[in-house]
Amino acid sequence: MEPLQLITPGRRGARADSPNRPRIGIVKFASCDGCQLTLLDLEDELLAIADRVDLVEFAEATSRRSSGPFDVLFVEGSISTTEQVEEIARLRAVSHRLVTIGACATAGGIQAIRNWFELAEVHDTVYPDPTYVESLAQARPVSDFVAVDAELRGCPISPAQLREFLVAMVTGRRAQLPDEAVCIECKRRGVVCVAVADGIACLGPVTRTGCGAICPAYGRGCYGCFGPRESANTASLASWFSDSRSGPEVARLFSGFTAWSEPFRTTVDAHGGPPGQVELPEESHDA
């Protein structure tokens, strides 16, 4: 996806008193708010960022509300109800650029695992009295409904990537958001490969990096929260896993926070999905 190129050179360095600051909104659908809160994690530069953009809609941080228009709208969460379908279409119409943030918005999130099951069955499992629950049959990524200009992956998104995206936006350069495997970051950091040295199932080779290879650095396998990387060869990795694991175990490995995104989804199906039929043994070494 082409990274955002928004700000014309005339807007470079616009400050709070400038009418040219980009109008930014942050909204959410079905999600936990964790990705939005990542903005607040940019503590050291938060005020400076707030000086350079006009934050007109961000319920977690300001009582200002806006229904648009937005230069850039950050969208968290999957689309899971009929109201959300209407709302995302309205927001798209008033947003110059729409950027999805996090596994829910970009891939459907953990709640998309229900997409493999009958809705009624899930209702009855989760809610003692599901009378007032109104959901779509599936929880789906925003890009299934409207055009998306850029995405930030992860569960939650990485503060470093969010910062990079914002800086690139206000300076007019291309954001450096790598699309290659977690392995590259892992090896740069000097982390010992948990797959090869411990036989731990790790989705790093098929998962987009950007997280800093956090999980392998703590001695556990990557569970794919950034979703598939470019050229993700899940068939080969799943076949390698299958040498020592059952089909449902392999399916379970691919059904994490981004299970509904291709090619993870077809890999789940090819190995005896739906997901969640087995408990996985704890796989980690004492880091």
Binding site: I184, G204, P205, L237
Partner: protein, 662 residues
């Protein structure tokens, strides 16, 4: 090969060796157990060594095994290679600043750490040597690498064990330690037979004041390493491998291995000789202060082959696997005079799906396979010397002020830049510069005019960096790095006819050729200039070209792909301008620049008209980043486009010209 001049260090006294190594403040880096593997890390004392540990490896598997033995070096290879210390994963390159119109780009250089590498195996010594040849292949070498390597002391250890993934014997790098070490240890149960391999090592050994090793001790160490050699055998048929691989570029096996290959890049990152890097840019919120650092990258990632406009030279995994394997085992010889593989087997063990390079080589280029015909000449042909290379320091940036801006087309402008820098002013036609604006990745831009007081650069907006650069006005500065690359061999056309064929913005790097030829017009035969453009609005340097068309001593023909109402000239592709011509091409030298397909079509028509392939020159677009052949992005077969080109004769390129996925 431990000689009679060896000394003996009792096991209990190995601490004395550590003390001697660190006596002048040097830090000791060596093997230690961490996270289920042996890694290289800083060692505080001999107790940190992996004493009593062995390693079992297989394709896709690495396991530590505790033996309880007293021996410290019976593990085989750590995950990490020494490149973590000689070519680190992250190296700061520059700090830059914009202050009003002014631009300042400064190199960042730290003093290299003083390190002693302990436990270096024969294959790893070979890897250090290969890496040094790669990083010194440029004019001054990579300063960071040279500094680190020069500051390091190498304490080698003879292998007393091998693992199933070892194949140093095939690559002729081990297991016996030859030269390249300061000290060489060979481990016995009771201690170490030690010999020096350099004056520094001899001095160090003298301070230890050891007794001579007994002949029996030396013999036992020789027997150990001989057993290792016998155990490994000869797993790869290396004889003739480069030529067999060159002949196997269309093997069906590339497709098959790509079905298994994850393109995760682990093989390249654990490889002790893979050197490819990319540059990351960081900046403050306003893009006024920025820094760049280079970081390990890999030909296996999709972004590695990507250029402006999102074209990609290696879109498929099979292209990337082929690039890696043929580079490592074949074109590495062309570039650096040796194999790029030392047979350490790391790529086999650390492949998450256990792809075994030995098996792939046997399938792709079996020992019985024919060795030709080869797709390109065995080494870069010396058509003309890469003269300008000798003077360019990779990190040297020169601020140049834009004195005027001339719009050329809707998306292209020409900057007139003032500089007094003698190296920039000595640029040759066809060379390029990296143009840096703080906070943006620097694009390579070819020089469109070389003046006594500066350079002209003609820049098309192809992405955010070029867009930001062309938005600058007169008075602003950019930082230039260069001149880089090998330019057009204008002198080779003296006494011959000259054909210049340009497509669109491809006229920019050819304009210095036109000017050089016209400056000494009587020394050349007929001069013919053929200009193509997508539409009349995409023509460059219109007034200048019109003026040239009025001259009697050269022929100018123009054509556009799509005409507008105002266009009365010819319509079609540029080769239409001469495919019916009657001139004889055998006395001509051709200079061509445009989109790769246009250059292929032009070269093909010119060959048909009798122009010698050695006299047909093209300039290639690739992802040129470092500009001096050390980052690997612009690799094309045996060439680095930035350093060996960007200008090549089609004879030099052979079938690499226009071949997909290289």
């Amino acid at each position: 090969m431990v000689t009679a001049a060896s000394s003996f260090l009792p096991r209990a006294e190995i601490g004395r060796l550590f003390d001697a190594l660190s006596a002048d403040g040097r830090r000791i880096i060596g093997p230690t157990v961490a996270d289920g593997a042996v890694i290289y890390d800083e060692l505080a004392a001999p107790a940190d060594l992996p004493t009593g540990w062995e390693t079992d490896t297989a394709p896709g598997s690495y396991r530590l095994r505790e033996t309880g033995a007293d021996r410290s070096f019976d593990y085989v290879l750590p995950v990490t290679s020494w490149k973590r210390y000689t070519h680190p994963a992250f190296v700061p390159l520059t700090r830059s600043r914009r202050d009003g119109a002014q631009v300042l780009v400064e190199p960042v250089a730290d003093d290299p750490p003083q390190l002693a590498f302990v436990g270096v195996r024969a294959c790893e010594i070979a890897a250090l040597g290969i890496q040094e040849r790669v990083m010194r292949a440029g004019p001054l070498g990579d300063a960071d690498h040279v500094g680190r390597r020069t500051a390091a002391l190498v304490v080698a250890v003879e292998c007393a064990a091998a693992t199933s993934t070892c194949f140093c014997t095939s690559m002729v790098t081990g297991p016996e330690v030859g030269g390249g070490a300061d000290l060489v240890l060979a481990e016995l149960d009771e201690g170490f037979v030690v010999r020096s391999g350099s004056p520094a090592g001899a001095d160090l050994l003298a301070t230890l004041d050891l007794r001579p090793a007994a002949p029996a001790e030396v013999e036992r160490t020789t027997a150990q390493v001989a057993a290792v050699r016998a155990g490994i055998g000869e797993p790869v048929a290396a004889e003739g491998l480069p030529e067999r691989l060159r002949a196997a570029l269309d093997s069906p096996r590339w497709e098959q291995v790509a079905e298994r290959c994850l393109a995760c890049a682990n093989c390249t990152l654990v490889c002790p000789t893979c050197f490819c890097t990319s540059v990351g840019v960081a900046s403050d919120l306003d893009g006024l202060e920025a820094s760049t650092q280079r970081q390990w990258d890999s030909c296996f990632s999709q972004g590695f082959g990507r250029v402006a406009g999102d074209a990609n030279f290696r879109p498929k995994v099979k292209d990337r696997y082929r690039q890696w394997l043929t580079h490592k085992f074949s074109t590495w010889y062309d570039q650096f005079g040796s194999s790029g593989c030392v047979g350490c087997g790391r790529c086999v063990a650390w492949c998450p799906v256990g792809i075994d390079v030995r098996e792939e080589l046997a399938a792709i280029a079996p020992a019985t396979a024919p060795r030709g015909p080869i797709p390109w000449p065995p080494a870069p042909a010396a058509g003309h010397a890469p003269a300008a290379l000798a003077v360019v320091e990779p990190a040297r940036h020169v601020a140049a002020t834009i004195t005027s801006v001339t719009p050329e087309t809707a998306d292209t402008v020409t900057f007139r830049l003032a500089t007094t820098d003698p190296e920039l002013l000595a640029a040759r036609p066809g060379q390029f510069v990296m143009v840096e604006l703080p906070a943006f990745a620097a694009p390579p831009i070819s020089i469109s005019r070389i003046r006594p007081d500066g350079l002209d650069l003609t820049i098309r907006s192809a992405g955010p960096a070029t867009a930001a650069i062309i938005a600058l006005g007169a008075g602003a500065q950019v930082a230039l790095r260069g001149p880089l690359g090998r330019g057009w061999p204008v002198e080779s056309a003296i006494g011959r006819d000259v054909l210049i064929v340009a497509g669109g913005v491809g006229l920019a790097p050819l304009r210095p050729v036109i000017e050089a030829v016209l400056a000494e017009r009587p020394r050349f035969g007929a001069v013919r200039l053929f200009l193509g453009a997508r539409t009349p609005a995409d023509r460059l340097f219109v007034a200048e070209m019109n003026a040239l068309a009025g001259r009697a001593d050269l022929e100018v023909a123009e054509i556009v792909d799509r005409a507008g109402p105002e266009w009365l000239g010819q319509v079609g592709i540029v080769t239409h301008l001469f495919d019916q011509a009657t001139w004889d091409g055998s006395r001509a030298t051709a200079f061509i620049c445009g989109p790769e397909r246009m250059m292929q079509a032009t070269a093909s028509v010119l060959r048909g008209r009798g122009v010698d392939p050695k006299a047909i020159w093209v300039t290639l677009e690739r992802n040129m980043a470092c500009g001096v052949g050390t980052c690997g992005h612009c690799q094309l077969g045996p060439f680095f486009v930035c350093r060996d080109g960007p200008v090549f004769s089609i004879d030099e390129l052979g079938t690499a010209f226009g071949r997909e996925g290289l």
